[in-house]
Amino acid sequence: MIKRLSIFLLLLAHTVSMSFVFASEEMHVPMQPDWSFQGPLGKFDRAELQRGYQVYTEVCSSCHSMDLVSYRNLVQEGGPEFSEKQAKAMAAMFEVEAGPDADGEMFMRPAILSDKFVSPWKNEQEGRISNGGAYPPDLSVMVKARSGGADYVYSLLLGYEDEVPEGIILDDGVYYNVYAKNQRIAMPQVIYEDGVEYTDGTAATEVQMAKDVTAFLAWSAEPKLEERKRIGFKVIVYLIILSFLLYFTNKRIWRDTSH
């Protein structure tokens, strides 16, 4: 009786609180496109990641750094898997400060595979002053750093609307975005149709670009995802077989014991 009553109370508490959550939440539920990397056997789509890198480099990287990712990662298994030659050429498009040389002077040299992605800013302060005081966050682990993950990032990129609903007053440097918290965000819309010209000939629609770059960010946040799922599958199969063997061994051992 008490048991049933308490379970009922628990459910009641849950229902009441859930209704509170939806009433007070200032966020919209993000869109949920099909990701190739979701599910227990999901993998990244190489072409998608390669296009995503292009979108990041040509669009996002003018404001957002990716400090935790190196150019060599672009070659690694389970990622965009560019050829080494391609990745070297991509790195060489950026310059990094090196030195000091024999004369004690710092100098600029083209980036190499072992360098981290070159940041658009010399330091956080420069990033801040160039963006009205709001520092564009580093994107390396962005997909894991937001609740909703890839769905949220994707939706945010596509959530800009020209028509701002009545009652929403935007300050200077703040934009209307359906999926942002309180529908306000300091980042302007950056994804526009044909914003990039894909090297593989894919039509650069807004949806395509948002999906590609989000997939790329999902990879950069979790570069060992494919290896993890592959090993995990084997581990689980192994453990299940082992548990069956142990189950029968255990049964056999206890056969003659009444208990």
Partner: protein, 415 residues
């Protein structure tokens, strides 16, 4: 128990004569007489030992690559995830291992509470267990601070600030803990040191826990004393295999988390590097602390909240004397059993409330649930021992329950 071990080989004889370690292990891990009716709720002791060893081994390797510095910690964890061979695996095992550890310890404690394993003559086993639990809480809390994400930083800020509630010395104590005037790199390095030390203290207590257990032997689902030989089986192979079977099933769940949703129990804010200038909207502790967090917030006064939260754990150590019933197993305690389940639901409810903001209906429910948590131990446990009429106990775990006549005489005595 170890009387019948005779070393066979010359080497074994030589060693055992000088250090009877083979006799010790043979007695405690092989022949140890164990009640033959233990159910699967008794397998969590072995599972917990596995958890502790797993945490120590993975933690050891992580510590080889981790850098305890406020500016480098976050990036060093990502370095482990990206560049260290199988670093992602080690870190996900370690992070999810903490959750699995707490799942197992809560089930282990719930089993002990249900079957009265804390009662005479096993009080000390239980009390040592409470200290292990306390150390686990401290270790897990400090471990969560090490990645130096937003939740690490702000969780540490909230919890260390609790010490400022101490009258007169509050500020001095918090500054001493911080090694600074706020949470900073000084705190990170000392938490790292302590986080490395504490598992070994836990390990020491676990040895005492098992030592104390091996004096009276295991309790069992019937809660009655066993007759050695008739009611017991040797630990090996009966319980070694049964424990390993349970462990492998436990590992399937563990592997499911590690390999397929390694971040589901964590908070996304902890993938944002600690920023002392930006407070997250909701600061929530790890799920396994939520019931105690709810108790902390249920009291409108800071010092009162801290006292309540500490008491919620401390009161556990007094359970052997708060429970006045002589009957161990709740199987034979029809009235207490109901309140036992109410406590379990109350604890889960507290955990849920701890994850919500402490306002409106949550706060009211939180206060009621906190009230019941304490009433259960202070009032319900002592009282029911006097008013409850337990069901007749079986004579032994091998025999069926008593005959009708015996039941009548026994209930006559009780009344």
């Amino acid at each position: 128990m170890s009387d019948d071990y005779e070393p066979q080989s010359a080497v074994a004889k030589w060693i055992d004569k000088r250090l009877p370690i083979i006799t010790l292990f043979s007695g405690h891990l092989m022949q140890f007489p164990t009640p033959k009716n233990l159910n699967y709720w008794w397998t969590f002791g072995g599972i917990l030992t596995f958890c502790l060893i797993t945490q120590i081994i993975t933690g050891l390797v992580l510590a080889m690559h981790y850098i305890a510095d406020a500016n480098l910690a976050f990036a060093s964890v990502e370095h482990i995830m990206r560049d260290v061979n199988y670093g992602w695996l080690l870190r996900y095992i370690h992070a999810n291992g903490a959750s699995m550890f707490f799942i197992a310890v809560y089930l282990h404690m719930a089993r002990s509470l249900f079957y009265g394993s804390y009662k005479e003559p096993r009080e000390l086993i239980w009390i040592i267990g409470v200290f292990i639990f306390l150390l686990m809480i401290a270790t897990a809390f400090m471990g969560y601070v090490l990645p130096w994400g937003q939740m690490s930083f702000w969780g540490a800020t909230v919890i260390t600030n609790l010490f400022s509630a101490v009258p007169f010395f509050g500020e001095a104590i918090t500054n001493w803990l911080w090694g600074d005037y706020s949470v900073s790199g000084a705190l990170l390095t000392r938490f790292f040191t302590l986080h490395y030390l504490m598992p070994f203290l836990i390990f020491g207590l676990v040895i005492l826990h098992i030592w104390a257990l091996h004096v009276p032997g295991n309790n069992n689902p019937e809660g009655i004393d066993v007759v050695k030989g008739q009611d017991t089986v040797p630990f090996h192979p009966h319980y070694v295999v049964k424990d390993v079977l349970a462990l492998v099933v436990f590992m399937i769940v563990f592997a499911g988390l590690v390999f397929f949703s390694p971040n589901i129990l964590g908070h996304s804010d902890n993938y944002i590097q600690a920023n002392p200038l930006q407070t997250p909207e909701h600061i929530v502790p790890e799920w396994y602390f939520l019931p105690f967090y709810a108790i902390l917030r249920a009291i409108p006064d800071k010092l009162g909240g801290v006292i309540a939260m500490v008491s919620a754990i401390a009161i556990l150590a007094f359970i052997p004397w708060l429970d006045t019933s002589k009957v161990r197993s709740s199987k034979y305690r029809p009235l207490y059993r109901q309140f036992y389940w109410l406590l379990i639901v109350d604890f889960i409810l507290l955990g849920y409330l701890g994850s919500q903001s402490a306002t409106g209906i949550y706060l009211i429910l939180g206060r009621l649930a906190t009230l019941y948590y304490f009433l259960h131990f202070i009032l319900v446990m002592p009282l029911i021992g006097f008013i409850e009429k337990p069901k007749p106990l079986p004579k032994s775990i091998s025999e069926p329950v008593l005959t009708k006549e015996e039941q009548l005489t026994k209930s006559g005595q009780m009344a």
